[in-house]
């Protein structure tokens, strides 16, 4: 199984994402923002970083990159896509996910090991978790404050599309303590914290993050 990892100018976490794909037992394939070629991958990860220097709005310029045109078409047909941190911002700007990520309520750049509760374990990227499972993975962002209007929040809640929430004090002001959401079909997932940094105890606070990547493999063999 081949999993694409997109590099935009200013992406930071593409190597860790590729490493997580390898740990999960799949083959990582580098994809370049300036090409529309998905290289016959079975799924795509949009990793974290500061693509295009966060110019205009986080993820706004990346959302219009040539690779995103192909990803948007594929995602609409059920192709699995995971956006982590800046990748989540790109998915929101590309309208593959609703809402927007805005400046953290207290203005601080957060860098912490964050406790999350998995709220939806039926997506392509979360099916290896048990419902309500609590995990700890790193989080590092300045624009992680999830915002949407009341109607969108009601829809996300009623359709079970909130995949993870922050446990304990709300770290960044996100509505309903949302850490991650999915689209209606469950193939596109955006998550603010970083599972790819929590796959090995040598380099992360836990191995909890690996389950996002092994979940993808489960969903593909089903």
């Amino acid at each position: 199984m081949r999993v694409g990892v997109v590099t935009f100018p200013g992406t930071l976490d593409d190597r860790d994402a590729a490493r997580a794909v390898e740990y999960a037992g799949a083959e990582p394939v580098s994809l370049w923002h300036g090409s529309d070629d998905l290289k016959h991958v079975d799924a795509v990860i949009l990793p974290g970083g500061f693509s295009y220097g966060d110019y205009l709005r986080c993820g706004a310029i990346s959302a219009k990159a040539p690779i995103m045109k192909s990803i948007i078409i594929a995602a609409e047909h059920g192709f699995p896509v995971l956006g982590i941190c800046n990748g989540f911002q790109v998915l929101a700007e590309a309208h593959l996910l609703p809402g927007a990520l805005t400046r953290n309520a207290d203005m601080h750049f957060l860098c912490t090991d964050q406790r999350l509760r998995i709220e939806n374990n039926e997506t392509a990227w979360t099916n290896g978790f048990t419902g309500g499972q609590e995990i700890v993975i790193p989080m590092k962002n300045a624009e992680g404050n999830f915002n949407c209007d009341d109607a969108t929040l009601d829809l996300l809640e009623s359709e079970g599309r909130i995949i993870a929430r922050y446990v304990g004090a709300n770290p960044n002001g996100s509505r309903a303590a949302i850490a991650g959401i999915t689209n209606k079909r469950g193939n596109v997932v955006g998550l603010m914290p970083h599972p790819e940094h929590a796959i090995d105890l040598l380099t992360g606070p836990s191995k909890d993050g690996l389950t996002f990547f092994t979940s993808l493999l489960n969903s593909m063999v089903k």
Binding site: L56, R57, A60, K64, A92, E93, P98, G99, A100, T102, R103, N104, A105, D106, M107, N145, N147, C148, D149, G173
Partner: protein
Amino acid sequence: MGKIVVEVMLKPEILDPQGQAVGNALPRLGFTFATSVRQGKRFEIEVTGEPTPSMLADVERAAEEFLANTVIESFVVKVEK
């Protein structure tokens, strides 16, 4: 040479911590006039000749699709002399 200006502001219901931080700093500097500050963006777009209605329609579309994120922001397009 004409100039088209697009001004983008966070919608009133969206928290603007940057504007708040600026608003909190003003009184520390002795400026006591502000009851609230919100921060936005301004794009100055230069075009050849006087802006035409079709050009303005294109700018409107660019603002809607790209310059602003209408989930959280509103915008106005104006022609500047």
